[in-house]
Amino acid sequence: MRYEHHQVSAEEMYFFDLRGYLVVPGILGSDEIDAVNRALDAKMSDAVTLEAGSLSGGAENLTGDSGRTQITGMLGWEPEHRAPFRRLLVHPVVVSRLNAFTGRGFRLDHGPLLISGRKGAEGHRLHGSGEPFGQSVTYHQQNGRIYCRGVTVAWQLADCGPGDGGFAIVPGSHKTREPTPDDVRTLNDDMGLVEQPVMRAGDVLFFAETATHGTLPWQADHERRSVLYKYAARGAARAVGKYFTPEDRLGDWTKELTPEQQAVLYGPGVHHGGRLTFLDSDGEKAWVVNTGT
């Protein structure tokens, strides 16, 4: 593939549209990789390791003896530790690709998030798909332009060789109109559709969040390290932010409203942690349903 360092090439556009992901190799030099890793090393005492089984979801082919280790909040760390992550936030390779994949005015929805694991760490059940349609992360192409509402940029800080595990994807699944079979999500029978892209430390991965993706158990002797920045299109929201409830967005007067009226005044986003209420109606009356789901 022909890459243009400061612009997205026609071949990259073709590949991303066809496959739903793109790896741009060799973007970070060893000094830059070291700077990010040093900052992480200084803060790893704040990292959280999830319980084994929490992400593999009972899938036999994804199980491991430990859970994923993760840490976030890097952009707000002390200046010496946050600097490498802020450099990645608007790296020219990111800006040039996201202007093309997401559209001008793209924004960081949430993250960065370090994903780490030692040999034997479990995988992550595959998620995301074209059906049912997920409005928060839709993929659309029209008249030569791509409009992807959710693109994650994953900076690789350690090699992911063939068979090492780590990021996995079903290429082309961002365009499917059929539900993803459970056997694909669990890798019980992936029909040869799941791919684990080979990446080196310093490479940067872009993937459409609507594509079916997840993580294979980590098999390499060295620690896996990847830092994910979750970007979104200008008018798209996944994280709900600080101003989510009617009261936080519009003021105390919303407390006077009925639960049904309050239900339509929440802010945008899907990561609401069960705080959102939904409505149903028979045309004569409307009522709140499945509160807390």
Partner: protein, 294 residues
């Protein structure tokens, strides 16, 4: 929402549901509007018609003041009743999907006899991701739907809401003659809508606007601007989108302008249109509109 309604909605991009409000309910809303009449402002001459002879008239009028949902009691009550009206919930659960939300409004639009129109806007090309229309496997997904409650009769062909049916699926830019309604190629409709009817239309995906008001009575409508769960257009979102407001102080402290540019909260139309980024040939990231977002 009936199958016939779904068909009409998918085909045209708008839907009129008849006789939703009783005369008593219409009177209740109109009475509440009497209390905000002093807040109705006249726009700049030609602002709506944009120089089009076909849309020309006296300046358009709309209410600008306290949110109608937060008026002193009892004047807020009629507007609150409409917010999650059963006829709205049953349609928007289909049109937008579960978890739809009020993005901004309600907005009181007013026209006197001879009021100008509003140039047509919204279209399928370029694609507007926050208001886009999509249909898949028997389900519809629309990012932005406006519900207009009509408080006075709007006889077809005599002004008021106008739309280009089917334009939410167009992949070509709207010709200027359509926008200005002076060479619309017969594509623009001005549907018959009566007091008490509820109009649903795709706000942004479908080409729509207003024709000059030619009737002898005042036009009154109240618009509720809904969005799907993950779409964000304007309203309060534009006030809370600046990085220092949307995130915590530590996260954005001492960021460069380029870094701040990607830290805005979701909002399709942030104040000052928001800052955008570009990459120079030498690889430097720069702001395309340095004054944006200030």
């Amino acid at each position: 929402m009936q199958a016939k309604e779904r068909y009409y909605w998918d085909l045209t991009g708008h839907l009129v549901v008849r006789n939703v409000l009783t005369q008593g309910e219409i009177d209740e809303v109109n009475e509440a509007l009497e209390h905000v009449k002093q807040g109705v402002r006249e726009g700049r001459a030609g602002r709506g018609s944009q120089g089009s002879d076909a849309l020309d008239g006296t300046p358009a009028r709309w209410y600008s003041g306290e949110n109608l949902l937060n008026l002193p009691k009892p004047h807020c009550e009629p507007f609150r009743k409409l917010l999650a009206h059963p006829q709205v919930v049953s349609r928007l659960n289909v049109m937008c999907g579960a978890g739809f939300r009020l993005d901004h409004g309600p907005q009181f639009n007013n026209a006197l006899p001879g009021s100008e129109g509003l140039a047509l806007h919204g279209q399928g090309e370029p694609h507007g991701e926050w208001v886009a229309y999509h249909h898949q496997n028997g389900k519809t997904y629309c990012g932005g739907v406006t519900v207009t409650w009509n408080l006075t009769d709007c006889p077809g062909g005599q002004g008021g809401f106008a739309a280009v049916p089917g334009s939410h699926k167009s992949k070509y830019r709207m010709p200027r003659g359509v926008r200005m309604c002076d060479d619309d190629m017969g594509t623009v409709v001005n549907p018959d809508i009566r007091a008490g009817d509820a109009l649903f239309f795709m706000d942004g995906a479908q080409t729509h606007g207003t024709l000059p008001w030619t009737n002898s009575w005042e036009r009154r409508s109240v618009l509720y601007k809904y969005a799907s769960r993950t779409s964000c257009r304007t309203g309060v979102a534009s006030q809370i989108s600046p990085p220092e407001v949307y995130w915590d102080e530590a996260t954005v402290a001492d960021m460069t302008d380029e870094e701040r540019a990607v830290m805005y909260g979701p909002c399709s139309t942030p104040r000052s249109n928001g800052p955008y980024l570009a990459v120079d040939d030498d690889g430097a990231v720069r702001l395309e509109n340095p004054e944006g977002g200030r």
